[in-house]
Subunit: 250 residues, 2 copies
C-alpha cells in the first residue's frame, strides 16, 4: 500500500490528454511545492473525473503557478456506483468527516438536507467539495462525488426521481425493522439508489410519514445499538457496496 | 430516537440490584450535576456490563459525590458478538475515533498493536477505555469492550487462539483478493473471530507472511478504493455484524 499511497494524486478541472498543458492555481502550487516538496521534473498523477488517471511531469514551478505536462493514461475512467448519501448535518467537524468517509466509500452524490429538527441552517458547499476532493485523491477514485444543494428534506422528497430507491436508515426506530440486508439490498443491484440517514434528533412525524409513504422507500436496519448518524452513514454505505455496489466487481 | 438518546445512561463499576447504593466519583458527580444538570430525585439509567440496565434515582448530590438508588431492571444483560478489532494506531485523534465507532458497532475487544511500520510507541489505555465507555453509554450497549494490552502484532499472532478466525483486511493488497463477503463471512457465524486492519504504511513482508500462513486467517476485500485504516475498520465491522453478528438477530 505504501507505494500506492505515496504517489501524489491531484484532482484538476482541465481536460487530460497527451497535448494538454495543465496549470495549477496558487493553492495547487503551494501544495505541490511546499507541502509535498516536489520540483521540476517530478511525476505526479492527475485525474479530472472524466479522462481517467494520467501521469504528468512538472515542467514549471513557481510560488504562483505550476505547469504540468500529461505523459500517458495509466487508468481508464470508471464511474462510481449510482448511490447518493442524504443526511441532516449536525456539526461542521462531523460534516467534514461524513464527506471524506462517504467519498472513500464510493458515494456518487453527497446531499446535506435540512429537516424539522436539524440544527444547521447553512452549509459551506466549497468546504464540502474540498473534503470530497481530498478524500478522492487519497482513496484513488477517479471521480469526485457531486454535492447536492442544501434544501429541506421535504422539498427534496417531493421531487424524488421515480426510478431511484430510497434506502431509509432510521436509527430512531431501532427495532422497528427486522429485515435482513441480504433480503432488501440485492434486488437494488444496478439501479439508482440513495441512502437517507435520519438526524440524531429524529425525523418529525410529517417527515417520517412522507418517507414511509413513498413507493421507492425501503427500510434498512443497522442493528440493536443506536448509531450516531455518521456511523450509520458509513455502515449503510459499506453494506450497499458489499451487497449491490462495486465491491462485488473486483 | 430523541427520547431514547435523551435518557441519561451511565456506566458504573458497582453491582446493580434493588438493595444497592451506588456512589459516583468526582468526575461522575461533575458530569451529572454540571454537564447534565440533574438533581436529587431525577432518574437515570445505569449499567455495569454484568447486570443489564437499571433505572436509578439520585438520592444525594454534592460537588464531590453522588449517590444513586437502583429502582428496577429495565433490560437484561446481553453479550456483544465475540468479535475483536485489531489495528495499528496512527494518531491519537484517530485512535479515539476508532474506539468510539468500534464500540458503537458492537466490538467485544479493541486491541491496538505495534507493527514494523507503525508510528505510535505508546498507547494511553485509560483514554481508550474512556472513549469506549462514553460510546457505550450513547449507543445503548450494556457491556464495554475489553481493551487489549498494546504489544507487537507478531507477539499477538504467535499466541493466537486456535479457534479464533482472523479476518484480514489488507488495503495494501487491494485487488489481490476477489472473494465476496457473502462467501467468506457466513461460515464464521457463531464462532470467535477478529478483524485485523493493516496499517496505512503497510505490513512488513515478515508480518504479511506470518498472517497469510495462519490456518485461521481469511482475507476480506473492501473494494477497489484504498480506504484509510479507520474507514476500513468500520466497514469490516459493519459487514461482520450484517453477515455474522447481532444485526441478524433483531
Amino acid at each position: 500500500m505504501s507505494d500506492r499511497l505515496q504517489s501524489t494524486r491531484l484532482f484538476v478541472e482541465a481536460a487530460l490528454h497527451a497535448h494538454a498543458e495543465i496549470q495549477l492555481d496558487n493553492a495547487g502550487s503551494h501544495y505541490l511545492a511546499n507541502v509535498l516538496r516536489r520540483g521540476i521534473g517530478d511525476v505526479v498523477i492527475l485525474f479530472n473525473g472524466r479522462d481517467g488517471a494520467w501521469t504528468a511531469k512538472i515542467t514549471e514551478l513557481s510560488k504562483k503557478a505550476v505547469s504540468l505536462k500529461p505523459i500517458s493514461q495509466v487508468a481508464e475512467q470508471v464511474a462510481s456506483p449510482d448511490i447518493w448519501l442524504i443526511f441532516v448535518p449536525i456539526k461542521r467537524a462531523r460534516l467534514d468527516f461524513m464527506a471524506q468517509k462517504a467519498t472513500e466509500l464510493g458515494v456518487s452524490k453527497i446531499w446535506p438536507v435540512q429537516s424539522a429538527y436539524g440544527q444547521m441552517k447553512r452549509i459551506n458547499d466549497h468546504r464540502l467539495e474540498a473534503n470530497a476532493i481530498e478524500a478522492a485523491e487519497q482513496t484513488e477514485r477517479l471521480d469526485i462525488p457531486e454535492i447536492g444543494a442544501f434544501e429541506s428534506l421535504t422539498a427534496l422528497l417531493s421531487n424524488w426521481p421515480e426510478d431511484r430507491s430510497l434506502i431509509f436508515c432510521d436509527e430512531g426506530e431501532a427495532g422497528a425493522t427486522h429485515v435482513l440486508p441480504e433480503t432488501i439490498l440485492p434486488p437494488l443491484r444496478g439501479k439508482p439508489a440513495a441512502i437517507l440517514i435520519g438526524p440524531e434528533g429524529g425525523f418529525s412525524p410529517d417527515e417520517r410519514r412522507m418517507i414511509t409513504d413513498m413507493s421507492q422507500s425501503v427500510a434498512l436496519s443497522l442493528g440493536p445499538r443506536i448509531l450516531r448518524s455518521d456511523t450509520a452513514a458509513l455502515s449503510a454505505l459499506s453494506l450497499y457496496q458489499a451487497y449491490c455496489g462495486d465491491w462485488r466487481s473486483l
